[in-house]
């Protein structure tokens, strides 16, 4: 792992001395390799390594830590800082009903995550309403209906023949009079390069003015994470990110890529297929995981 690799790099540098440009080069190469293996995007790695170099060079080799451990500490701290200092929660105190919109690539886990959030809101004493705005995927509306039934959250009646924007507007009307206080809009998976479908997301946003627009991304996403997140953010001005399928063995470097390019908080992580499997994001845990 990275610790062992860095120990090797610094095996001749002991006790008193400073981390210099020369002895740091090999260490930085190892850090770069570890981050790329963890799926952090190329450009994000480049900037990150530069920052680490600036912070490491000139540092005294402190007695208690080996130089390798010192570099790891700098890398780890920098990762945690970048991934987001404090835990961020959903903004639920604005004008009611609050609308939470989920968007992302195909298969990232939006529909399942919508139900997970609804279940949590129900537990908190709120009155959630699930809105199936995916009229394209076969049985997508049915999928959300099944999940809604399972957790006892009502699902807005919709048909695949309707227009997603119309569905969302109707759902907001149905929530009127305090019948529901939180709407969870499940949108169809789409490519960031599909102009028509990205425009549809903007129209949904304009129609229902969400308090939260959450980008749902697969934790195992590779180099493409930065391109996709940048486009979704440019088109929608996201308020947060959810990473799914985190209970697998993906290193999850996409977390760093997405956070760096959008500067939006990673609010939750999906850690399983059952509807309780939604946790708060922990930057320090993610940093350790990325470093392997």
């Amino acid at each position: 792992n990275l610790t062992d690799r860095l120990q090797k790099v610094f095996k001749d540098l002991r006790g008193h001395g400073t981390l210099s440009e020369e002895n740091i080069q090999d260490a930085l190469r190892e850090v770069r390799q570890a981050l790329l293996e963890a799926d952090v995007s190329f450009k994000v790695v480049k900037d990150f390594v530069k920052t680490v170099a600036e912070r490491a060079v000139g540092q005294e080799v402190v007695g208690s830590l080996s130089p390798g451990q010192q570099v790891i500490r700098i890398v780890h701290d920098e990762l945690v800082a970048l991934l987001g200092g404090q835990t961020e929660t959903l903004k639920l105190d604005g004008r009611q009903p609050v609308v939470i919109m989920l968007a992302g690539l195909q298969g990232s886990g939006k529909t399942t995550t919508a139900a997970k959030i609804a279940k949590q809101l129900l537990k908190k004493g709120r009155r959630p309403y699930l809105v199936p705005a995916d009229v394209y995927r076969p049985a997508a509306i049915h999928q959300l209906q099944v999940l809604g039934e399972r957790i006892g959250v009502p699902v807005h009646p919709s048909q695949a023949s309707e227009d997603p924007v119309a569905i969302c507007r109707a759902a907001v009307l149905a929530a009127a009079g305090g019948r529901f206080d939180t709407l969870l809009v499940d949108t169809a998976g789409r490519l960031h390069v599909d102009a028509t479908l990205m425009e549809e997301l903007r129209r949904i946003k304009a129609a229902v003015q969400p308090a939260e627009i959450l980008f749902v991304a697969d934790a195992m996403t590779g180099q493409d994470a930065v391109t996709v997140a940048e486009k979704f953010n440019a088109d929608l001005d996201l308020t947060g990110v959810i990473l799914t399928k985190m209970e697998g063995d993906a290193r999850g470097g996409a977390a760093l890529s997405i956070k760096s390019i959008t500067n939006r908080p990673i609010k939750f992580v999906g850690v399983g297929e059952d509807l309780d499997a939604l946790e708060v994001f922990h930057p320090d845990r993610q940093a350790s995981r990325i470093l392997g």
Partner: protein, 280 residues
């Protein structure tokens, strides 16, 4: 390297960035570049275009080793059984809908098997693909034992003399031991029913996934033995370069690529086109 006049470190850096951002992975990229670097010395290459060609040829070599030219061969008698596996959300069910279309167009009769009895509306989703293709779908209730659905489907296929049987399984992370055991059981039950089946165990990989695809390939191969790959969502901006490493390490042929969500959006894998697209 468009407009580059010489082979220098800057060119190698550019090529490294192209390959890494295409998800080839840092290790595979280093192996490839080291190989062409030696080639440059040996052959005293001067032209950047020659270097690029050498690199593309080397990637092609990884992708099409002779064993990889194994095609899916229809058995002498009985249905050709394909079991489709992979982690959650990669496009298994949709790919099955597309394959049904392809086989029907080729004049084959097709039967789909709804052995994802776990995920909400999975059976309904496959049934819609069945309707779109005018092919039958064997299904039981949600929550049924997937092995029993597969077992019944093979009886049905034999009785109706169906040419191709495609089994849809639930998405599952390769790290979940009990779920991988379930997959092994489906395979065993199918083999009990029809000795040579499944004839193809198709692992579906998402082109947007990074290095974790290697772990997926390794684990699924270890558990049930993967005989072919399908790479989906190549209509996005991800290049799917991870398959270069997977083909090289596991000797798995890439059968199909997915380039969209409609039933026609399936192509046979074309290595040269794929390699060109890596550099596009």
């Amino acid at each position: 390297f468009r407009g580059k006049k010489q082979i220098d470190q800057e060119l190698f850096d550019e090529l490294e960035e192209i390959l890494i951002t295409a998800d080839l992975g840092v290790g595979t990229t280093q192996d490839l570049l080291t190989h062409v670097q030696q080639q440059v010395k040996r052959e005293a290459l001067q032209d950047p275009a020659a270097l690029r060609q050498a690199l593309m040829d080397r990637i092609l070599y990884y992708l099409r080793r002779p064993e990889l030219e194994s095609h899916m061969v229809m058995p002498e008698s009985g249905p050709f059984v394909i079991m489709v596996v992979g982690v959650n959300g990669v496009g298994k069910t949709t790919t099955i809908g597309k394959m049904a279309h392809k086989f029907k167009q080729a004049g084959q009769s097709v039967l789909l098997v709804a052995a994802d009895t776990f995920r909400a509306a999975a059976i309904e989703q496959l049934k819609i693909w069945g309707e779109r293709n005018a092919v039958e779908v064997v299904a039981q209730k949600s929550g049924a034992d997937p092995s029993s659905v597969a077992y019944d489907a093979l009886d049905y296929a034999r009785a109706r003399e169906i040419d191709v049987v495609i089994i849809d399984t639930a998405g599952r992370l390769h790290t979940k031991v009990n779920l991988m055991e379930e997959l092994k059981k489906i395979k065993r039950v199918v083999a009990k029913k029809l000795e040579t089946a499944p004839h193809e165990i198709l692992l579906v990989l998402d082109a947007t996934t990074g290095q974790n695809s290697i772990s997926q390939a390794r684990q699924f191969h270890e558990s049930v033995g993967v005989t072919g790959l399908a790479l989906t969502k190549l209509d996005g901006t991800a290049k799917g370069g991870i398959v270069v490493n997977i083909c090289h390490e596991f000797n798995m042929p890439i059968r199909f690529i997915g380039i969209g969500e409609k039933m026609e959006d399936l192509r046979d894998f074309e290595p040269e086109e794929f390699v060109k697209a890596l550099f596009a």
